[in-house]
């Protein structure tokens, strides 16, 4: 009898919050202690399940922000209006609380240090979270190929990982859509095709491209990037919705 390929089975694991850090007025990073965590790849996410005392449960996916190979399990959560899970995780949860996680999940929107090519990252809002995992993985590995970030965000207060983004210096460009920091020449507004061209690696350098953000932002960026000559086969996208379920 032929031996069937053995697929790793995914189940819910109990996890303890060991640290909660504020990232902005509306987002926090939560560090989780998960027994037997198998490690993750940059770009992956976990499902988080919360259970109330009466048995009510709610499940939401959150991207991992920590570097692959770091041994750390950190997610960054931004509150969504009326979001019962995000509101609890950002505003109420404290170290010592328990949640359940399932993952790591996703084997498509991932970047590994074994990829020798340049990398262009394009983030809209909290879409920067899985891309930060890639930047941290890239940085801690001392990867020789360039990795650049274009980060569209509503206003300076909403910038996640502001210190780390600043340390990236010329490898990161932050563009504001609603309010610009004082003293900047660029008026706030949506990222234009010309700005994408100016602040990203040229298509001729054949970078791997990762785009993450709200669906409308991702759709717009895919159109711009393919228009600039990027091979659609080399672009990977992750959309997150303004969840409409109450």
């Amino acid at each position: 009898m032929a031996r069937a390929a053995t697929l790793p089975r995914l189940t819910w694991q109990s996890a303890t919050l060991t640290q909660v850090r504020r990232e902005s007025s509306t987002a926090s990073t939560l560090r989780l202690d998960v027994a037997g965590w198998p490690g993750h790849r940059a770009g992956q996410h976990v499902d988080v399940r919360l259970t109330a005392a009466d048995g009510y449960t709610a499940v939401r996916p959150y991207s991992l922000a920590s570097a692959a190979g770091s041994g750390l399990v950190e997610i960054t959560v931004a509150t969504t209006p009326g979001g019962e899970v995000s509101t609890y995780l950002v505003n109420d949860a404290v170290a010592g609380n328990h949640v359940e996680v399932r993952g790591p999940l996703g084997s498509w929107f991932v970047w590994d240090v074994s990829d020798p090519d340049p990398v262009q990252l394009v983030a809209g809002g909290s879409g920067v979270v899985p891309l930060m995992s890639m930047l941290r993985t890239h940085g801690s590995a001392g990867h020789p190929a360039p990795m650049r970030l274009l980060y569209s965000v509503s206003d300076p207060e909403q910038v996640l990982y502001a210190d780390e983004v600043e340390q990236l210096a010329h490898a990161a460009t932050v563009l504001h859509t609603r309010h610009s920091p004082p003293g900047t020449a660029r008026p706030p507004g949506r990222v234009t095709p010309a700005e994408v061209e100016e602040h990203t690696l040229p298509a001729t350098s054949r970078p791997s491209v990762f785009v993450c953000g709200p669906t409308g932002f991702v759709e717009a960026m895919l159109t711009v990037l393919t228009g600039l000559g990027h091979d659609p086969e080399r672009i990977r996208a992750e959309r997150y919705g303004e969840r409409s379920s109450p």
Partner: protein, 93 residues
Amino acid sequence: MSEPGVVPRHLDGNAAAGALAELFGTDITGAMGTCTACGNRAAMAETHAYVDGPGVVLRCHACDSVLMRWATSRRTTWLEMSGLRSIEITVAP
């Protein structure tokens, strides 16, 4: 491809990774699926996922046909995948 003024509402198959793992027992977002209607072959992560309704619907990103759809009650899952001609699941090394 969407009309002006109409907000696209889909996510990626990646967003359904956990729910798919519940059905298949493992992460299949990197598995390659072939659309029955148009023959397009793409990773399950590249499908368009509609997750807000009574169930989950995955559509072909090339032709919008339904590839897979499923719904669950307390004890039962109903799964329909006639729109998916085949799926290739490779085990990670």
